[in-house]
């Protein structure tokens, strides 16, 4: 059967559509042919696929062939069976008849004869030639047709249809098509069944020795071809797939050594898309086919079907796997194939596949996912071709043109060398080429990286080519001299070559023309290149590929084309990493040719990719290239940024020397003449944080110094011209940021530095660190990053969050210090007294504080005296300050009580250091001046003294804080008083006008007073009775008076005559003189006044003089008016009840005209009452008319309300205009009234027992 292979091939090429045979019984075909053929190809054909499921075929091409045609007649039956697929699928019998008799006698038997063959699927088309106008003919035609139907149609199947030549019925064509389709379907089913049976039969013999793959192939492909003819491409595809599987099975299974194929010229060009590349008969190998050609053939068939199915994606995807697996097969037969055949085949296969799929690809017709996948496959194909191409180029000697980048290294160094049986040797006449190559090798110098970065180049070769090539040569076996290279796998080809070169040079020089010697001695690298080149010229048949390897420029062009193709397609497939990395390779080429702009753009993309995900090792490889581009392009900002990024990479990635070179670049640029200051983000290089521990706490308005830790990633010290740091308040963002500046140059050492910055007063709140900015020369840098614990970690790229920890807390305004008077009781007036000012710091240091003292009116500071300051440990008053008290106590225990004398300069006092934290008292010597005399009062009148009289003020201003920025002002009130308050009372009165005057001395101070002497200078009208000149018995003295107690002195006086007019005027009031001493403590209140040290006499007692004026009232001798207090209601007074007070004023004598003080018979009255005891409603003071006649009287009523219960003095009516000597009062002296407590109110009481 294998002999039919050639025939099969020719049949396949000629038959490409299904055949419908036409049995032209009545010579009608020429008339209907055009109409019939106009229906081709059939649309919407419905066929059954292999699994007998109906499939709709959009277009089914077919051909009508007359049975008399030579194509159908000249076939042998055996052929017919084998190539059944080309036999007609339906038979159309064309008949016409106009006579019933004719039908019966002639036509019917003939038709019966035609249709008796069961194999055929047939049906009859009755053609009516009758003209529509000719009714007779029409009727006859109908009759004949109905006869025909009766004869040939059955219930199961209608086999007839009628065609009116002149007037075809509307549904005739549909009817015809459906009938043809029915036939085709049936035939197809039957034939599929047949082929399947045959194939099954053969498959069962697969393991037998008689098994012949070719037979199986012919059957299988016939089936596939039949499906293809019927446009059932899916089924055809399946057949091919099965065929391939079956083939691979036979290839792998049999132990027979078969020829692989691929040894023909031109086989290096992949034919995986061209099924007709080689005739199948050429590749027959015994009972099967050669693998090399046959697998490509199968793939070509499938790809053809896939393209027909409009699935270029699947072609690409199957193609890629096919190339990979086929390349593996090629590798296993590499020994018998031409040199580098495998690489060449892969390159051509990839390129062919790319070209074919792209030309069949219509954009936007598929779902995006498939589209992505498609581009990815294209990228893979390009990249595979690229790798193989680079490998070839390397073998030819263009290795130096290939960038030793990670991507190239990854693909090339893991790709084994070609393994030919014998490595090609140098052709005889190639010595000139060898010399040239050698020159090239010597000329190439490895490109040094920018910044003098020394990197060991990545390998592009799996092992050293030199050794590999020499080992594979026929004359040399393993274990020769080249084994010495075994231990040096890592060293690169170039250096290796040079070493070898040196050793082998003499021999070459001695015999330059003797090429034969190269068989014995190892080949040199240049020789390997030349040998490979020659061998490749032999194996490569594609002129384009040959051209691409002919020179380094051509190589580069092709290399770029492949790289770009891969990169673009990877980008379209969203494999950004693959794409961008290849962009970097394009950039390297662009760089080499001086297209720095383009190179920089691509390098930037690569750097961004690596930096974005923290692949520092890879970044370190590309970044120097980018920096170099930017430097050449004079892109200073970009260049600086690249330098900073280089410096901020892991330290281990570069040598210190290299890092220092980068830093010096930065500094050099910064101080060079840049047009504008260049901003630069150094967040990755300089990081900062607050000091660990609690934040700096400041009081409101306090400046401070902020200490910040800055980590420098520079390898050397770097000088920053200025530095500033912003503080961001955490509570409200709209307040804006505050910048702290330090304009002095700061030197940052590598690693941790501490920088202190002056902190101006800030608003209350807490602050976090913002941005660090600074300047190096013309370079303005800023850093946003915060290091939390240690130095900036290299993979900190994702922690850009702000530090939550506040660095500074400014407290809300609060009292920082308190100033108050140390004593509350009164001091002596008109004497030098110490006034104590208690200074209490509240959790705030008063270091170097300055106190300004300014006295108010009536108070003066004794300038000559020093000011004393002493610590005061236990002045705290409440529990809140417990802690402070403890601290103060500890302080006082340690240092004891501090005491210091200070001096006052211009009203300022500077505090000593010890007083900065502990409370202290400042004693200031002052003197309150009062030029009025103390006035005593009689026991009748109430004491009328305002508290303001003795009050003096001291204005204090305390400046404190580090910069004296805090100011505390307070005005202290200090109370001064005379030592005594004097009251007088007449205790006894005799008839002779002598009476005893009791002087009651109230002590006004909290100190013990000692009276040494007392005398009374009497006013006019009074004289002393005894000869003691107004002094009481001297034995009473000295008299001690305890604080706030009273003492009394009795004076015996009598009314005397007026001495002279002048004297009486001089002495209108009596003056009590008291010589006294005081012994008090300044911490309590009044104390002995300070006297000047110089005038002080030791041991002498200090005597002070107190004078007080006393008014003695003479008895009423000539009363003119009488004032009488009318009795109060009998039910008594009650607190809160209004009561009417009444006084009756009566004139005792006629008005004396000489008195002018009382005009027009009116009297001025005034009601005096203690406002604490009484509330007075109504006019307290006013005029009332009183007749000037004797006996005139009037009653003055005032509504009063008592405020306190008890015995109180009632209000007193006074007549200010009338001399007291002329008023007779009743009762004459002070008296008391009883005021009852307010009535109980029961409204809010709740009975207990209810």
């Amino acid at each position: 059967m294998a002999n039919f292979l050639a025939q099969f091939q020719t049949i396949k090429t000629t038959a490409d559509r299904i055949v419908i045979s036409v049995e032209d019984v009545s010579d009608l075909w020429p008339t209907v042919k055009n109409a019939f053929e106009a229906r081709l190809p059939f649309k919407r054909a419905s066929l059954n696929n292999k699994t007998r499921n109906p499939v709709s075929v959009e277009q089914l091409p077919a051909e009508f062939i007359l049975t008399t045609d030579s194509r159908l007649r000249s076939r042998f039956p055996q052929e017919q069976l084998l190539f059944w697929f080309r036999e007609p699928y339906a038979t159309v019998v064309l008949v016409t008849c106009e006579d019933l008799d004719e039908f019966k006698t002639i036509l019917k038997p003939r038709l019966k004869l035609i249709v008796q063959n069961d194999e055929k699927e047939w049906f009859i088309v009755f053609v009516s030639k009758a003209h529509p106008a000719n009714d007779q003919a029409n009727k006859m035609a109908k009759k004949v047709y109905s006869k025909l139907e009766v004869e040939f149609s059955s219930k199961k199947r209608e086999r007839c249809c009628k065609y009116d030549i002149h007037f075809p019925e509307a549904n005739f064509w549909d009817d015809l098509e459906s009938k043809i389709m029915e036939c085709v379907r049936n035939t197809l089913d039957r034939r599929v069944q047949f082929y399947e049976d045959e194939i099954r039969k053969l498959s069962e013999q697969r393991l037998m020795p008689v098994w012949n793959f070719c037979n199986f192939f012919i059957l299988k492909e016939s089936l596939a071809f039949m499906f293809e003819m019927a446009h059932l491409h899916e089924d055809a595809l399946r057949e091919y797939d099965e065929l391939e599987l079956c083939y691979l099975e036979t290839v792998n299974m049999t132990g027979k050594q078969r020829h692989f194929g691929g040894a023909d010229h031109g086989d290096d060009q992949a034919a995986l898309l061209n099924p007709g590349n080689k005739a199948l008969t050429q590749i027959v190998q015994e009972d099967s086919f050669r693998e090399f050609e046959f697998r490509q053939y199968l793939f070509a068939c499938t790809s053809k079907l896939l393209f027909k199915l409009n699935r270029p994606f699947e072609v690409a995807s199957r193609g890629y796997s096919f190339i990979i697996s086929f390349s593996k097969s090629l590798a296993s037969y590499e020994r018998i194939l031409p040199f580098c055949m495998r690489e060449v085949w892969v390159i051509t296969a990839c390129l062919a596949l790319i070209e074919a799929t792209i030309s069949h690809y219509n954009e936007g017709h598929v779902v995006p996912d498939i589209e992505k996948e498609f581009f990815r496959l294209l990228g893979d194909l390009y990249s595979l071709a690229r790798v193989k191409f680079m490998r070839l180029a390397y073998l030819v000697g263009y290795g130096t043109d290939i960038e030793r980048s990670p991507v190239n290294s990854a693909s090339l160094s893991l790709l084994p060398w070609p393994k030919p049986a014998i490595w090609p040797s140098v052709p005889a006449d190639a010595s000139a080429e060898v010399l040239e190559k050698e020159k090239l090798i010597l000329q190439t110098t490895p490109r040094t990286k920018h910044f003098g970065i020394q990197r060991k180049p990545l390998p592009l070769e799996p092992t050293v080519l030199l050794r590999e090539a020499n080992r594979r040569r026929a004359s040399l076996s393993a274990g020769n001299v080249f084994e010495m290279f075994e231990g040096r796998q890592g060293t690169i080809e170039g250096s290796q070559a040079q070493k070898l070169h040196a050793t082998s040079m003499p021999r070459t020089n001695s015999s330059p023309g003797n090429v034969d010697s190269s068989i014995d001695r190892p080949m040199r690298l240049a020789e390997i290149y030349v040998a490979s080149e020659h061998a490749l010229k032999q194996s490569i048949s594609n002129p384009e590929l040959l051209k691409s390897l002919s020179s380094s420029e051509e190589f580069e062009q092709k290399y770029l084309e492949l790289t770009k193709g891969a990169a673009d397609n990877y980008h379209r497939s969203w494999w950004k990493r693959h794409g961008v990395v290849l962009d970097g390779e394009i950039a390297a080429v662009a760089f080499k040719h001086g297209h720095f702009d383009q190179a920089a753009k691509s390098y930037e993309k690569v750097c961004a990719l690596y930096a974005g995900e923290g692949w520092q090792d890879l970044l370190a490889e590309v970044l120097p290239n980018l920096a170099e581009c930017q430097k050449i392009l004079n892109d200073q900002a970009g260049y600086l940024l690249s330098c900073v990024r280089l410096l901020s990479l892991d330290e281990g990635l570069f040598l210190t020397k290299e890092r220092q070179a980068v830093q010096s670049e930065v500094v050099r640029l910064a101080h060079s003449e840049m047009k504008d200051p260049v901003p630069l983000d150094v967040s990755s290089l300089i990081t900062f944080s607050g000091n660990p521990g609690p934040p700096l706490e400041l009081c409101d308005r306090d400046p401070g110094t902020l200490s910040v830790t800055v980590w420098s990633g520079f390898p050397d010290d770097i000088t920053l011209d200025s530095i500033s740091l912003t503080l961001t308040p955490t509570h409200n963002a709209d307040e804006g940021v505050k910048a702290l500046k330090s304009s002095t140059a700061t030197v940052l050492h590598p690693g941790r530095n501490t920088i202190t910055l002056d902190l101006p007063p800030q608003k209350p709140g807490s602050y976090v660190l913002g941005v660090l900015t600074g300047q190096i020369g013309q370079l303005r840098f800023r850093s946003h990053s915060f290091s939390k614990v240690g130095p900036a970690d290299s993979d900190d790229f994702m922690s850009y969050e702000k530090p939550a920890k506040p660095i500074l807390k400014v407290a809300k305004p609060r009292a920082l210090v308190d100033l108050e008077a140390a004593v509350s009781s009164a001091l002596l007036i008109n004497e030098h007294q110490w006034v104590g000012i208690l200074i209490r710091p509240i959790n705030y240091s008063l270091k170097a504080a300055v106190l300004h003292i300014d006295t108010g009116p009536g108070l003066e500071i004794e300038d000559s005296h020093v000011i004393e300051m002493e610590s005061c440990a236990s002045v705290s008053q409440n529990d809140d300050e417990q802690v402070q008290r403890d601290v103060a106590q500890i302080g006082s225990l340690n240092s004891g009580k501090s005491f210091e004398r200070l001096t006052l300069h211009d009203g300022r006092i500077e505090f000593p250091n010890w007083a900065s934290d502990t409370p202290s008292i400042l004693w200031v010597l002052i003197r309150a001046v009062s030029d009025t005399l103390s006035r005593g009062s009689s026991s009748v009148t109430t004491r009328r003294e305002s508290i303001v009289d003795g009050m003096r003020t001291i204005a204090l201003k305390l400046e404190f804080g580090v910069f004296h920025n805090q100011i505390f002002e307070r005005t202290l009130a200090v109370h001064f008083t005379y030592p005594f308050y004097v009251r007088t009372r007449v205790t006894d009165k005799s008839n002779d006008g002598t009476f005893l005057l009791q002087v009651i001395l109230h002590s006004e101070v909290k100190a013990k007073l000692t009276i040494y002497d007392a005398w009374l200078d009497l006013q006019d009208g009074f004289v002393h009775t005894g000869q003691t000149e107004g002094r009481p018995d001297s034995s009473d003295f000295p008299l001690n008076i305890s604080p706030t107690s009273k003492a009394g002195i009795l004076f015996s006086i009598c009314l005397g005559k007026t001495n002279t007019e002048e004297e009486s005027r001089k002495q209108a009031e009596s003056v009590l003189n008291i010589k006294y001493g005081i012994s008090g403590d300044r911490t309590i209140g009044a104390h002995p006044p300070v006297i000047d040290e110089s005038t002080r006499v030791d041991g002498a007692r200090q005597e002070l003089i107190f004078r007080s004026a006393i008014i003695l009232q003479r008895p009423v001798l000539d009363p003119c008016l009488a004032v009488g207090f009318l009795p109060l209601p009998s039910d008594g007074l009650r607190v809160g009840q209004l009561v009417k007070m009444q006084w009756r004023v009566e004139r005792l004598k006629d008005w004396d005209k000489t008195e002018v003080s009382e005009p027009n018979g009116e009297v001025l009255y005034e009601v005096n009452a203690n406002s604490g005891n009484w509330m007075i409603a109504g006019r307290k003071r006013g005029h009332v008319s009183l007749s000037t006649k004797q006996g005139a009287r009037i009653i003055i009523s005032i509504l009063c309300m008592p405020l306190v219960a008890g015995y109180v003095r009632p209000p007193i009516l006074g007549l200010p205009d009338v001399d007291e000597a002329n008023i007779s009062c009743k009762p004459a002296g002070p008296h008391l009234v009883c005021v009852l407590p307010p009535a109980l109110s029961s409204s809010f009481c709740i009975p207990v027992n209810s």
């Binding site: 390349s327 991507v407 390998p459 796998q489 090792d617």
Partner: protein, 143 residues
Amino acid sequence: MIICVAVVGHQNNPLFIQSFTEADDALKLHHIVHCSLDVVDERVNNPKKSGPLLNETFLGLLYPIENYKVYGYLTNTKVKFILVTTDLDVRDADVRNFFRRFHAAYVDAVSNPFHVPGKKITSKTFVERVSTIVKSFGLSSAG
């Protein structure tokens, strides 16, 4: 032979890369691992395609390169393990087993209280353990 194992963080940042080649060419392995993330991304983002693999940590062969194979493994914290091997016929079961052991080692390493999550793994113990796992790769199936 396994030539490289790597741990890649959930932000595709390298956490650990260990190469087992004699030559000083770790950078190319960095490149291979980095590029393989394209495939991992695609698998993770296209659950439709991976289908039943969605719930599985083992990603299988990431892509068929002619001369080496890259396998992937994705933990449920989106940490990726990448294995590069030059063995061209590796059994999936072996790789699965390898990744399981590797995962255990990784979990132990990051459970170290001194390890900062998201930072590179610097533990020497981990390195040793990985070397042991790598050395024993494929032995179980052979023995």
